[in-house]
């Protein structure tokens, strides 16, 4: 029944159920941590470690399968469709937080201040004289005084970093296609370095916010939207940079050919997605 040109169907799946158990234990552990139960932390660590082991194991298995030529072009299409639709689901996840930002900033904060014929006119009974502005930490001044994060400074630098990294990854891609190994490796190294540099600067920005600016997750709805949007974004940059590191490693080992380099493309697509989300963030969270 085996045919090298046929659509590869794996016979058994060992990593998925292991990864599922790990994910479940990790999340149950996190829930226990949130409930102040001591068993939470060890569960989280074991669960997280299991998930990492699963990812390494499963992706290594696929990389071996790919290098052994077990994937025909039809399989490659399945992977492409999978990655595209996965990125679309991530776009929808970010869209939720952007929508929340739009709703509070342009609708409900106004209503809280009694503007328009919305429902908030009774706010003045609880908080007199609340004016609708943005940024705001609400009529209750939740979290105390804070300084909003200016776009000019680290955020602008980070924008340049990410945009440049989009260029370097594309340059690396061209290097792969024209079989210029140096260009490929250098481009990937530059991209990975820029990616981790972004995360580093974002960390500094968060540190400044918490220690000097009084801006925290608890700073009303401005703090909430700021940190959730930039936080999830930073997480995705980290994941993307790790993916690119793996791609760098595999490129170093000579795994990719000009005709067959789906994982490189998948990581590049993810990276561009992360870049586009940042542009949205820069405009709507930092600038305006």
């Amino acid at each position: 029944m085996s045919s090298k040109d046929g659509y590869y169907l794996p016979h058994r799946a060992t990593w998925p159920w292991i990864g599922t158990a790990g994910l479940a234990i990790m999340l149950a552990g996190f829930a226990n941590v949130l409930n102040n139960s001591v068993i939470g932390k060890p569960m989280m660590i074991i669960g997280f470690a299991t998930v990492i082991i699963m990812m390494v194991g499963w992706f290594t298995l696929q990389s071996i399968e790919s290098e052994s030529g077990m994937y025909n072009p039809q399989v490659s299409i399945s992977y492409r469709l999978g990655m595209m639709w996965f990125i679309f689901s991530e776009v929808m996840f970010f869209a939720v937080f952007f929508s929340a930002l739009y709703y509070v900033r342009d609708l409900s904060v106004d209503w809280l201040a009694g503007v328009g014929d919305g429902p908030g006119r009774s706010t003045n009974m609880l908080w007199e004289g609340y004016q609708s502005t943005w940024p705001t930490n609400g009529p209750g001044n939740v979290g105390g005084d804070y300084e909003p994060m200016s776009a000019f400074g680290l955020p602008l630098l980070n924008t340049l970093i990410l945009l440049s990294s989009g260029v370097t990854v594309t340059w690396a891609h061209w290097g792969l296609i024209i079989k210029d190994r140096q260009q490929l490796i250098r481009g990937l190294i530059a991209t990975v370095l820029l990616g981790f540099l972004f995360v580093f600067f974002q960390g500094i920005e968060y540190h400044d916010a918490y220690t000097e600016m009084g801006l925290t997750l608890g700073s009303g709805v401005y703090g909430s939207t700021f940190f959730m949007l930039t936080g999830f974004h930073g997480l995705h940059v980290t994941i993307g940079a790790i993916m690119l590191t793996v791609v760098l490693f595999r490129s170093w080992k000579g795994h990719f050919t000009p005709d067959n380099h789906f994982v490189f493309e998948a990581a590049a697509w993810y990276w561009h997605f992360v870049d586009v989300v940042w542009l949205g963030l820069f405009i709507f969270v930092y600038l305006f």
Partner: protein
Amino acid sequence: MSAVTSAHDAHDDHGPKKGIMRWLTATNHKDIGTMYLVFALVMFFVGGAMALVIRAELFEPGLQFVNPQFFNSMTTMHALLMVFGFMMPAFAGFANWMIPMMIGAPDMALPRMNNMSFWLLVAGGVLLSSTLFMEGGAPAAGWTLYPPLVLQTGDSLPFAIFSVHLLGVSSIMAAINIVATIFNMRAPGMGLMKMPMFVWTWLITGFLLIAVMPVFAGAVTMLLTDRFFETSFFDAAGGGDPVLYQHIFWFFGHPEVYILILPTFGLASTIIPVFARKPLFGYHSMVYATVGIAFLSFIVWAHHMFTVGMPIAGNLFFMYSTMLVAVPTGVKVFNWIATMWKGAMTFEAPMLFTVAFVVLFTIGGFTGVMMAIAPLDAQYHDTYFIVAHFHYVLVPGAVFMIMAATYYWLPKWTGHRYDEKLAKIHFWLSVISVNVLFFPQHFLGLAGMPRRIPDYAVQFADFNMISSVGGFLFGFSQLIFLYIIITTIRGGKKATGEVWEGAKKHGLEWTLPSPAPYHTFVKPPKIK
């Protein structure tokens, strides 16, 4: 579509593994489909038991059996388990079993991810069910988990939230797999407009799942941070708004109910032509209507929120868009009836359930149009009228089609014919009791009985008693269904490959032997 044959590892030819590892490491779409269906069946009875706790308490006015907190947990968990533990997995089970066979593919596009989808479902279900045993009890704020009330949930809140994340990832992965399979694995010659309607409806349902499950994840993540990390998404003191949650939730929630009903429609379009011995009327319009319904499903969400104080322009927009959905839905109902018109009909169990579906779902659809009219919804909202509406479209709607499809395909899966006489008894008991159970709830709602209450004013007593009688009758009738499934798996009259007269014309699966071999369409068939 360059696949000539499918390839396996070298040591495959001695059939599936034995024991628990067969199921833990399953990549075969039939095995995974079976697991989904078994899981769904178990959850059907668990969720059903919770419904009976509710109906027992509501049998008479006063509090007889449970305390109000537990009652609220029952209503919350009944809904969550039925939607996420029974209906979605049942449709996923049908998708896994049947889509590859219907399109002439050897398996799903990404079999290992398929495995993970299933086990993530189990993990999420276990995490959610375990909340019943935690301090503070299971979540009791309603399946919609509205803040600020839900933020008062005890220790179970983070567990419930993380179970939603796990279930969401499970669904997104399954949907991606289904979409990739339908786009990439069809046999040569099967163009998109030649696909069976069940495949079309699952393709579109797949898009909906990928688009909106992340939205639900985002909503519950904000609940988590509002409770544990001091964010103010839904707290007015911080500048937030509880209504924001409702917008986000229902942006997910409305497409979610179409995720439940589109595969249902696909099943109806599958079964009616076979039992009417006529091709489906208006295949093209059925496809366009499904696309239309899916598109509209994204722009109607706030009809669940007509009474929150939206500006009137908002209420008007959502009223118009919601009423519009009746149009493509009506096209479908008309086409099903037109398919039956002048058909040579027989009424075995699958067809009985399907005909009941067409009539009773339409009743549910009519009450939907009533509720779409925003000023009238002011009366219906949060009453039993709403409860009656959605139970009509879900129970004699989606659930009846799940039962119809089970009877339809049991012979293909097991190789045995089910007991037709017992199945007919199951049908008649179900269809009568489901109406006794839910029809009076329309009157209760119009008379003003609110939802989600364990005790009620004395004028609602009679219809509540009738409804509860119907509920217990319906619940116990499902034991017949369970009995039929188990005995058919274990034995029974041998089924042919075609099973139903003339079925070969209506689907590729009927060209295969019954039970279907472990590997089918290793070489894709030629489609004319």
